[in-house]
C-alpha cells in the first residue's frame, strides 16, 4: 500500500514538473514579450517627455523588461505564479494604455 502510494507520488511529481516547465516556457516567451510590449505602450504614454523621446525611451526600457520577464518566469516559485503575475502586469499596462489612448492625443 505504501509502495503503491510512493510510485503514484513519483508519477504525479513527474507530471507536475512537465506542466510546470511548459507554463514557464509560455510565461517566458510569448507572455514575456507581450508584457514588455504592453509596458512599452504604457511608458510611451506616461513618460513626461516629448513624444519622440518618450517613444524611444519606452522602447529601450521595454527591451530590458523583456529579458527581465523571462528571468522572472524562471525565478518565481511555480509556473502558475509566473503566468498569473506576468498576466497581471500585462493587464495593468493594457488598462492604463487603453485609458490614456481613449483620452486622445495620439499623433
Amino acid at each position: 500500500m505504501t509502495v503503491q502510494t510512493k510510485a503514484d507520488k513519483r508519477l504525479a511529481v513527474a507530471w507536475w514538473r512537465r506542466v510546470d516547465a511548459t507554463l514557464r516556457i509560455v510565461a517566458a516567451m510569448p507572455l514575456g514579450y507581450a508584457v514588455a510590449s504592453l509596458w512599452a505602450m504604457m511608458l510611451a504614454r506616461l513618460l513626461p517627455l516629448f513624444t519622440t523621446a518618450a517613444t524611444i525611451t519606452a522602447t529601450l526600457i521595454a527591451l530590458a523588461l523583456c529579458a527581465g520577464a523571462v528571468m522572472w518566469a524562471y525565478a518565481t516559485i511555480s509556473g502558475w505564479r509566473a503566468v498569473w503575475t506576468l498576466s497581471l502586469a500585462g493587464f495593468i499596462a493594457a488598462g492604463i494604455t487603453w485609458m490614456s489612448i481613449s483620452g486622445g492625443g495620439r499623433l
Partner: protein
C-alpha cells in the same frame, strides 16, 4: 528555497538553480545562430578594409576627394538623367566610391515590372573613376549576413537574429546571476581538467569581455528595435512615418523643372559641408542632377560622431547655396543613435576597432565553449556513454557542423574570391555559393565521421584553406602580398597576417585534437594557456 508542488512532495529549486537552467537552455537553443552572428559581426568590424582586400586590383585611395570627383564624372557619364544619385564618400580604408542611382520613373513602363537587377543601377568606382573589375560582396557580405543571414527573406532573418539576441541577453544576465564568485573566476583557469577546464574557459571568455558582451547584445537589440518592439510607436503615433520623419528629417521633395543646368562641383561643396557640420561628410544624395531644380543633401560621416544619426545639410545643386540644415536631435534620439553607433563601432579609430575585434573574438569563444560545455557536462552523467541519447548526439554533431564548419565556409569564401576567374558570370553570388557549399560539406562530414575525427579534419581543413589564400596573395596575385609590404600598404598586409595567425591557431588546435588521448594518460603540461587549448581538449574528449 523549497518548492511545494502541492502533492506532499518537495522539490529543491533555488533561485540560482532556476537561473542556471534558464542560462543553459537560452544559451543552447539558438547558440548556433549566435555563433555565426558573432563570427560575421566580428569580421564586419573590418568591413571596409575587407571590401578593399577582396578587390586587390583597385588602386589605393590616396585622396578621397579626388576619388569622389572621379565618381561624379562616372555618374555624369553613366546616368546623367537619373532621378537621384547616391554617393558614399570614399575613405582611405575602402576600395573606392559606392554609387547607386534611381532612374527617372518611366510612365510607359507596365506597372509592377521588375526594376531590373541592382547591379544595373549601382557601381563601385575606383579612385581613377573606373568600375572595379573583381565582382564580390567583400566585407559587406559579413556585415549583411550578421543580421540578414542569407537564402531567406530579410524579415524572417532579422526576427530570428532578434530572438537569438534576446536569448543571448537572457543568457548573459542569468550567467551573471548564476556566478558565485565572479571575481575569482576572472583569474581561474584549471588546465587539462576536463569539465572544470571547459567551465573555466567559458567563464574567462565571458567574464573578461562581460561589459562588451552586455553592451553589444543590448545595443544589437536596439538596432532591430523598430521591428522587434514597435509598440511604443504604435501607442503614440497613428501614423508611424511621423516618427521616422523626426528621426530622419529631410529638406523635402524636389520637383523637376525641366530646364537643364550644370551641376555644381562637388569638391568645393563637400568642403563647405564639412565646415557646416564640423566633421567629414559620409553620404551625398543628388536629387535631379542636370536639372535646374537639382538639390544636394550631405550627411555627416558615421565615423565623425558616436550617434549614427548624422546631421545633414542641403544645397542648391546649381548655385551651391545653402538651403537647409537638419534640426538638432533631442536627447532620446541621440541616445538611440549612440547605442546603434556603439554597436557598429564606426566612430572608433583603429585602436578601438582592434579592441572591438578582440572582444568579438572573445564573444565567439564564449558562445563556442558554452555550446561544447553543454555536451561535456552531460557526457559525464550519461548512463551509457557508448550510446548517448539522440538529443545529445544532435547537439554534439551540430556543434561540430557550426563551430568548425562555418569558419571552413568563410575560408572557402576568401579562397573563391582569389581563385574564381574575374569574368565568371554572377561572380559575387558564386563566392557566397562556395561558402555555403563548403559549410554544407562540413556539416555532412560532422554527421558521418566520428566527432573526434571531424573536429580535427574540419579545423585542419580551415587552416589549410586560409594558408592557401595567403599563398595565393604571395605567389599568384599581382599586385600581391610582396608588393603591399614593399610599398607599406599595411591595411592589406594586415588582413593576410590576421588570417595567418588564425590559420596557425586552427592548425595547432586540430593537431591537439587529433593527438589527444582522453583521460587515461597523465595530463601534459603545456606552457601557454589559451582558450583554444581548452577547446582542443574537450573537443578531443569526444
Amino acid at each position: 528555497m523549497d518548492v511545494d508542488l502541492g502533492w506532499g512532495s518537495v522539490v529543491k529549486k533555488g533561485f540560482r538553480q532556476s537561473q542556471s537552467t534558464l542560462h543553459t537552455w537560452s544559451g543552447l537553443l539558438l547558440g548556433w545562430v549566435l555563433f555565426i552572428i558573432f563570427v560575421a559581426g566580428t569580421a564586419a568590424y573590418w568591413r571596409e578594409p575587407l571590401n578593399r582586400w577582396m578587390r586587390p586590383e583597385a588602386p589605393r585611395v590616396e585622396r578621397p576627394v579626388l576619388a569622389m570627383k572621379a565618381a561624379q564624372r562616372f555618374l555624369a557619364r553613366k546616368a546623367p538623367d537619373a532621378k537621384t544619385w547616391f554617393i558614399t564618400v570614399p575613405t582611405v580604408e575602402g576600395p573606392g566610391t559606392y554609387v547607386f542611382w534611381v532612374p527617372q520613373p518611366d510612365p510607359d513602363a507596365p506597372k509592377g515590372r521588375h526594376r531590373g537587377r541592382r547591379r544595373d543601377t549601382s557601381a563601385l568606382v575606383d579612385a581613377t573613376g573606373v568600375p572595379v573589375a573583381r565582382e564580390t560582396r567583400g566585407g559587406d557580405f559579413f556585415y549583411r549576413f550578421h543580421f540578414d543571414l542569407h537564402y531567406m527573406p530579410v524579415i524572417w532573418a532579422r526576427w530570428l537574429v532578434g530572438v537569438a539576441a534576446m536569448m543571448m541577453l537572457v543568457a548573459i544576465l542569468t550567467g551573471i546571476v548564476t556566478h558565485k564568485k565572479i571575481f575569482k573566476d576572472f583569474f581561474t583557469l584549471r588546465r587539462d581538467k576536463g569539465q572544470r577546464s571547459w567551465l573555466d574557459g567559458h567563464n574567462a571568455s565571458a567574464v573578461l569581455g562581460l561589459p562588451f558582451h552586455l553592451m553589444i547584445t543590448y545595443t544589437g537589440l536596439v538596432t532591430l528595435a523598430t521591428m522587434l518592439m514597435p509598440w511604443a510607436t504604435v501607442a503614440n503615433y497613428a501614423d508611424s512615418t511621423k516618427l521616422f520623419t523626426t528621426l530622419f528629417p529631410t529638406a523635402g521633395e524636389v520637383v523637376r523643372v525641366g530646364h537643364p543646368a550644370l551641376l555644381v562641383d562637388l569638391e568645393a561643396l563637400v568642403r563647405n559641408g564639412e565646415r557646416q557640420l564640423g566633421g567629414p561628410i559620409g553620404f551625398i544624395e543628388v536629387a535631379e542632377p542636370g536639372d535646374a531644380a537639382a538639390r544636394i543633401t550631405m550627411t555627416g560621416a558615421s565615423r565623425a560622431s558616436l550617434s549614427t544619426y548624422g546631421t545633414r545639410v542641403a544645397y542648391d545643386g546649381v548655385t551651391g547655396r545653402l538651403l537647409w540644415r537638419s534640426p538638432p536631435p533631442n536627447g532620446a534620439v541621440t541616445t538611440y543613435g549612440a547605442m546603434i553607433g556603439l554597436h557598429a563601432g564606426r566612430f572608433g579609430d583603429l585602436t578601438l576597432r582592434w579592441l572591438y575585434f578582440f572582444c568579438g573574438l572573445g564573444g565567439t569563444v564564449m558562445v563556442a565553449s558554452g555550446l561544447v560545455l553543454w555536451t561535456v557536462k552531460r557526457r559525464e552523467k550519461l548512463p551509457d556513454p557508448l550510446h548517448p541519447p539522440l538529443g545529445f548526439r544532435i547537439v554534439e554533431r551540430l556543434n561540430i557542423a557550426v563551430v568548425a564548419g562555418f569558419p571552413l565556409g568563410c575560408a572557402a569564401f576568401f579562397l573563391a574570391n582569389r581563385l574564381l576567374p574575374l569574368a565568371t558570370p554572377d561572380r559575387a553570388e558564386r563566392e557566397i555559393t562556395m561558402l555555403f557549399a563548403a559549410w554544407g560539406s562540413a556539416a555532412l562530414a560532422a554527421l558521418v565521421l566520428r566527432p573526434k575525427q571531424s573536429w580535427a579534419a574540419l579545423l585542419g581543413a580551415t587552416a589549410i584553406g586560409l594558408m592557401t589564400v595567403i599563398a595565393c596573395d604571395l605567389l599568384v596575385l599581382r599586385p600581391g602580398l610582396g608588393q603591399w609590404i614593399a610599398v607599406s600598404d599595411w591595411p592589406m598586409a594586415t588582413v593576410d597576417a590576421v588570417l595567418l595567425v588564425l590559420a596557425i591557431g586552427l592548425a595547432w588546435t586540430a593537431r591537439r585534437v587529433a593527438r589527444h588521448r582522453p583521460r587515461v594518460l597523465k595530463p601534459r603540461a603545456i606552457r601557454t594557456p589559451t582558450n583554444k587549448a581548452l577547446l582542443a581538449e574537450a573537443v578531443a574528449a569526444e
